[in-house]
Amino acid sequence: MLALGITLALLVIGYLFGRHAEQSHFERLREAEAQLQSLLMFSEKRIPPQFQPCEVKLVGGNTVIAVDYFKVMAAALRNFFGGRVAAYESLVERARRESIVRMKREAQALGASAVFNVRIETSSISKGAKEQQVSVEVYAYGTAVIPRHG
């Protein structure tokens, strides 16, 4: 009975805090993305002539994000019935967008005008952990192009 109570309490806490945290994170992401919109990003390797002459430098950003208890449960149920696991989609999306924002911030600090050959790598770092830890790491990296004058 006590165990059930704790589980329920964790579910409620997870749901409330997790939801709030997620919404405010998406809000922050939207702001940051709007702010960094002028910094272009390409998945292409070739740097077109209008960006040259330039200096290049490797930039990257990473994020580790965990899901809340409620979502772990929701996903476990979903795992039973099959189908789209929306609970985890938002997790990966948040991590990916946050990593890109961090990469762009680093590029912006260097005075870059664009980032080329952007690669995004996702890995689960807590695979096989005893307690049900669900977290992903996303690393986004690319070559920042810094215009050189003269």
Binding site: L10, I13, G14, F17, G18, A21, E22, H25, K45, R46, I47, F51, Q52, P53, C54, V56, K57, L58, G60, N62, T63, V64, I65, A66, V67, D68, Y69, K71, V72, E98, F116, N117, R119, E121, S123, S124, I125, S126, K127, G128, A129, K130, E131, Q132, Q133, V134, S135, E137, Y139, Y141, G142, T143, V145, R148
Partner: protein, 107 residues
């Protein structure tokens, strides 16, 4: 020229590659410590970013890059092109971060 130029594209714009020196690599395996794991355990209830892990992995990645750069420098390169990263979890508590690229000499 002391600083090694790193890119993940195949050329360095405005510079000519005069010599290819082959693959250079650097790796590091990191385990998370108990304090960080405990905090991460708490975070798993409410969700959100695990700042401790983010920093840990970033440090580890910087170290693997530093090792790769060290190797490149020791064979006389002044740039590493086509840099790639890969992450794999060795056990549940440790992750390996690996960086590799092609060491070259540019003018």
């Amino acid at each position: 020229m002391n600083e090694i130029i790193l890119t993940n594209i195949e050329t360095i714009p405005g510079r000519e590659i005069t010599q290819h020196l082959g693959l250079v690599q650097g790796n590091t395996v990191r385990a998370k410590h108990v304090g960080r794991d405990f905090m991460a355990g708490l975070k798993n209830i409410v969700g959100g970013e695990l700042k401790g892990y983010t920093e840990l992995l970033q440090e580890a990645r910087e170290e693997s890059v530093a090792r790769m750069v060290e190797q490149a420098r020791s064979i006389g390169a002044n740039a590493v092109i086509n840099v790639r990263f890969s992450t794999s979890s060795v056990t549940s508590g440790a992750a390996e971060l690996f960086a590799y690229g092609t060491a070259v000499v540019v003018e």
